[in-house]
Subunit: 139 residues, 2 copies
Amino acid sequence: MNTKNADTRQETAVQATGNADASGIAALMQALADVNRLRILNLLLQEKELCVCDIERVLAVPQTRVSRHLTILRNSGWVAARREGRWMHYRLTDDSPLQRELTHGFRKQWRAVPEFMQDIARLQQPTIVCCDPLSENHP
Amino acid sequence: MNTKNADTRQETAVQATGNADASGIAALMQALADVNRLRILNLLLQEKELCVCDIERVLAVPQTRVSRHLTILRNSGWVAARREGRWMHYRLTDDSPLQRELTHGFRKQWRAVPEFMQDIARLQQPTIVCCDPLSENHP
DNA sequence: TTCATATATTCGCATAGACGAATATATGGT
DNA sequence: ACCATATATTCGTCTATGCGAATATATGAA
């Protein structure tokens, strides 16, 4: 099977049901119940796509941790991954209406959170982004 | 100290900071990562105030469990309690802007969740509510 | 004071989740 | 084929969380 350049999205109960039941929603929230994952989502709210090494550098967190939490976010339907050469590019996937509500709220409210704003600031230092110099679609 | 009729709100890190930091937000989400607690919040989105025995009956869940999860919701700043005689009346407390965003979204999106709608339906059977026949402020 | 009711807490147990270190896998370059 | 880089997974361990049963506490009534 050809794995390179495949768009990866994990098969889970959450995905299958479109989060439309109570335990699906609980699982969706559970995925948000960790600072590492919130910080990752915060970055992806700003930059459409990021590879693991970027996240690792911006958050100053060991690679294993970033990867682990990205897997959790993927399994819970919060992000999807796209391989490009050696790099995996992660992006937000707010597919369900509930998720869109939530991300919309986060975009607005997380601007008041210093830690998140600092992460964004570090993200925007151009030297820190390794493999994603073009922010998805620049006109 | 006089405990009867005191309005109870737990002192926690979350409360203290107004959830305005990343780990406070994670704690807020963590409180939502359980079906029991989601169902309780769902009821409180509909009925302004409910006592434990009402919740117990509507959700058909043992008392210990309801009480435990109400405590967790209280400690995380999602509900507050008011004693009235033998009963504790719980109500939603979406104090922070983030919480208001979230509850607003839930009010809208949870209508699509069958389990939640069924709970509301059972809540509205008049025989099932024991000690709160007046829904807070009826004109 | 004694009893019944409403709610909260403790206890022991079982499962889930987070961590770093080490290791495995996948890709591209040489 | 071999190596370097990017990412994922496994392993052992530790802590957190959920559960029901039992118990404790608080209030009001008799």
